[in-house]
């Protein structure tokens, strides 16, 4: 069916071509992290709002779990990784929209440069958090 689905696995002749489609994977991950962050920001707003409104004791009890329990410490690290990916890849998209570095090889280089920066920032965050 020759419709608007430009990207399908049929477009790749070899497995390597598919795995080398950096932009496609960047897009997929941008969408997954984005939807995860939508879920988080709504939950975060509602949870912080309701626990602040229910007063001092409830809020302190909630926060001692959220900022104390190992599971939430792990989720916090995961959250920051998600934000870093979405934010840094987002900068690449903004640059692309402004016409900066639109050549495909520049795009790939930019992507991996941002991922390098993200990895360093994430590692730094984990060290600060655990240290």
């Amino acid at each position: 069916m020759p419709d608007s689905h430009l990207m399908s696995t049929d477009a790749f002749r070899t497995r390597n071509q598919m795995w080398d489609a950096t932009g496609m994977w960047a897009w997929v991950l941008h969408r997954i992290t984005g939807l995860g962050l939508v879920f988080y920001i709504i939950l975060h707003t509602v949870l912080m709002g309701t626990s602040l409104l229910s007063g001092k004791e409830d809020f302190n009890e909630t926060l001692s779990v959220l900022m104390g329990h190992p599971v939430f410490e792990f989720l916090d690290i995961l959250l920051v990784g998600t934000v870093l990916y979405h934010g840094l890849n987002g900068i690449r998209i903004l640059l692309f929209d402004m016409g900066i570095g639109v050549w495909i090889r520049t795009q790939k280089t930019l992507f991996w440069m941002f991922m390098g920066v993200g990895a360093i920032l994430w590692f730094w965050f984990i060290l600060l958090k655990l240290g």
Binding site: G34, L35, I42, T45, V46, M48, V80, V83, G90
Partner: protein, 112 residues
């Protein structure tokens, strides 16, 4: 209309890069590693600039989030009627969440 909402998605992205960076950095590294307590939150929210940052984060964060979901919806085939309906629904949800959030912040700061 789509062009404006699309542009606002980019503008909110730039604002969020700054505000979210500050929000995460400030919350994690300005207290002593103890869980945040209610009194601290009240003190912070009585500081005008921190209140402004939280409100900006709410407005642009919720806009960016909901428009993101809306653009996922746009990637599927839909009729004009459906699009208008879904858009209106998202506006209602967004206004509700932002309104609730701002109310919570102002109430906690003792401004209401």
């Amino acid at each position: 209309m789509h062009a404006w909402t699309w542009l606002l998605q980019r503008i909110s992205a730039v604002i969020l890069l700054i505000v979210v960076g500050f929000h995460i950095g400030f919350l994690h590294f300005s207290n002593t590693g103890e869980p945040l307590n209610y009194g601290e939150v009240v003190t912070r929210l009585k500081t005008p600039i921190l209140m402004v940052f939280d409100v900006l984060l709410l407005i642009f964060g919720i806009y960016h989030a909901l428009y993101g979901v809306y653009s996922v919806f746009l990637d599927f085939d839909s009729g004009k009627k459906e699009r208008v309906l879904v858009f209106a629904l998202f506006v209602a949800v967004g206004v509700g969440i932002v309104g609730f959030g701002i109310f919570g912040l102002l109430y906690t700061a003792g401004s209401l």
